[in-house]
């Protein structure tokens, strides 16, 4: 055991799986480092081994096949914003990636995989991915399993274990007729949100025919509130409907965060506000 941490640089996915499987929980994966390094700098995490996955080709790039878009876990926020496939087929995700805090410097290095597994309640990517019913490929014990992203959002840790590696995110494009929006209530342009909401709306004539709303940054985990709002499907947009969405979403936030972004009572109220704004913007865009 050395006094300072050691380093491993697997060259491919197989090696990455093997090296993670052979190490204890003191090993930590480093990709962009935008979540890990602040925690290391402040002594909250002290990795014994850094596993640098930056060379693993299988974790890189955005591609499309059989109606699915595959986003490698190492894809940085700037590439999610600027890539033609994500811009045209997943505009909600491309837009949300542009709202990540920390500016270009963080967008250039922070990865979609790191954003997910950090399980940070104030981060911007997961609400949109949940609204899009995203799945993830996870490497563990030499095998890749595809699971719903929502299944990782059960408690404050994702439950994958230190030997697992998130390989890619899989998302199906939304239809051209669907409207989408991501609303982030924030104090400064580059900062964390105090409440955020991703919404996807389809319409049949003037009436809303389907509604997905996921609220983030107000509780320990992003909250999919589509189920709470199913009773509102079938109605046309109106001020009364907007008020009902705000009230139902706010009421559904039972254990709000209370931190430097704002106290719990206010966060609970703001959950309703961002949800209302997101649905309004998405309903306006839907054809």
């Amino acid at each position: 055991m050395s006094l300072h941490p050691v380093f491993a640089r697997p060259r491919n996915l197989e090696q990455a799986g093997e090296v993670l499987g052979s190490l204890s929980s003191g090993a930590m994966i480093i990709a962009g480092g935008q979540e890990l390094m602040p925690s290391v700098n402040y002594g909250m995490l002290m990795p014994e081994v850094y596993v640098d996955i930056g060379q693993v080709k299988e974790l890189q790039g955005i591609s499309e096949s059989d109606g699915e878009i595959h986003i490698g876990a190492l894809t940085v926020h700037r590439d999610v914003q600027d890539n033609e496939v994500t811009q045209t087929k997943l505009p909600l995700l491309a837009y949300a990636a542009a709202q990540v805090g920390g500016g270009w410097q963080v967008h250039n290095r922070g990865t979609i995989g790191g954003n997910i597994v950090s399980m940070h309640p104030l981060y911007d990517i997961v609400p949109s991915l949940l609204a899009l019913d995203a799945e993830v490929d996870v490497l563990k014990g030499g095998k890749i399993n595809r699971i719903a992203l929502a299944s990782l959002m059960k408690d404050a840790s994702h439950g994958l274990g230190s030997e697992a590696l998130l390989v890619r995110v899989i998302v199906k494009p939304i239809t051209a007729a669907a409207g989408w929006a991501y609303e982030k209530l924030k104090i400064t342009a580059g900062g964390y949100g105090s409440a955020n909401a991703a919404a996807i709306v389809t319409k049949d004539g003037d009436n809303i025919s389907s509604l997905r709303v996921v609220v983030g940054a107000v509780s320990a985990l992003p909250h999919d509130l589509s189920g709470v709002l199913t009773g509102l499907v079938g109605q046309a947009w109106s001020d009364a409907l907007a008020g009902e969405i705000e009230a139902k979403v706010s009421a559904a936030v039972s254990n709000p965060l209370s931190d430097h972004q704002g106290d719990g009572t206010w966060r609970k109220a703001m959950a309703g506000v961002v949800a209302r704004r997101a649905v309004a913007a998405a309903a306006f865009k839907a054809q």
């Binding site: 050395s2 300072h4 941490p5 050691v6 380093f7 491993a8 640089r9 697997p10 090696q15 093997e18 090296v19 052979s22 190490l23 480093i30 480092g33 935008q34 390094m37 602040p38 290391v40 700098n41 402040y42 990795p47 081994v49 850094y50 640098d52 930056g54 060379q55 700037r78 542009a98 920390g102 500016g103 270009w104 410097q105 963080v106 250039n108 290095r109 342009a189 580059g190």
Partner: protein
Amino acid sequence: MEDMLEDTVLVNLRINGKLYELEIPPHKSLLDLLRDDLNLTGTHMGCMTGHCGACTVSIDGRVAKSCITLAATLGRAKITTIEGLAKDDGTLSAVQQAFWDEAGFQCAFCAPGMLLCTSELLDGNPDPTDEDIEKALAGNLCRCTGYQSIRRAVKAAIASRQQQADQVAE
């Protein structure tokens, strides 16, 4: 798998045009490498959490916060620090000159982030909108100016680079 574990990591970095072959401990940040080992102290240590942007450098043409970048992960990267913006003879870059002329800074602790983000913005988009400027600079905190002099300096840099481009075209 034990043979995969390294106590030190060999990187070959091109920093401000000069090649460095460095054997570094795995936990060293790029900020510490630049400041402590290479004496490039123009890159400032601010918050150490990635919020303030004072430690900004450019890695392979894209800005990054060096305090939250692990040096061992950089392999063969090309890095530009604030020291690399001016020419060897000391002539300031168009962006630096514009910040000087417009008194863009007061204390200039945030200069690395403001100058490198502005340089990356103008390299990719010679005629940015106000919104483009705000997005490009969003990762930098200035506690002196209220940002108006910085915005003025960025606009002066846009004009100056366009003037230079026009002169080349003529």
